[in-house]
């Protein structure tokens, strides 16, 4: 199964981090793509991506309302959006990443 990874983060770390994460995971299921999302919330970092996850991934989705360090993802195709976009258009985001298209909101 093809795989992508992502990071979600929001301002208070209470709600949107998890809304966006779940939205991407559910969209992955319907597109038959494995999606692993690292969440940066008020609890701290959960479901941390390891090097193998990153190596195996076709690309990275960063859905965040705050700054996320991207140095781990050097040489990877990255799409960066706000959490709202991942909640609203998760399938479109994943398709753009898979098809290497530029993403337009």
């Amino acid at each position: 199964m093809k795989k992508i990874v992502g990071v979600t983060a929001c301002i208070t770390g209470i709600a949107h981090t998890y809304l966006a994460a779940e939205s991407l995971i559910e969209a992955g299921k319907s597109l038959n793509i494995q999606v692993k999302i690292e969440t940066h919330g008020a609890i701290g970092i959960e479901n941390r991506l390891n090097q193998q996850d990153i190596d195996e991934a076709i690309g990275v989705i960063i859905a965040s309302d705050i700054v996320v360090n991207e140095t781990r993802f050097i040489n990877k195709r990255i799409i960066k959006v706000k959490t709202h976009e991942a909640i609203k258009h998760p399938q479109k985001l994943i398709r753009s990443l898979m098809e290497k298209e530029d993403y337009h909101e």
Partner: protein
Amino acid sequence: MIETLIDVNLIDLSLNARSKDGVFHELALLLHRNDRISDYSHFIEDVYEREDMGTTGFGFGIAIPHAKSPYVKIPSVCFGKSEQGISYDSIDGNPVYLVFMIAMPETDSKQHLTTLAWISRNLMHESFRKKLMEAKTPEEVINIILRANEGE
């Protein structure tokens, strides 16, 4: 853990508010009456502080206004339902029918935050949203949330 955050007294299935400001006041008042917050108007200011950074109306007819606030006495989730719909400035432009207002103190236990994260995740599932939309009593709402929690 969810039982400490919400109970039947924090659920209002017939909201009167038609606007975002109206529903903030209606639900904050419910929190205040149940002694969950210490200062009603300051708490609302804190909810607005978060809201002003981006709407919490995330689509699907649902909004989750929330604040980490020093005016929160007991970490709480307050739930309201509107028959007529609330004008909310949601990301999909549609009215809001279900509102979860989350009141958190400035520092809180990992368990509460984990519960809130889990509620948010469930809200992305259509079956969970549908059950909440159809709930007729506060007891039913509590049961839907508890049952979803057990299924996890």
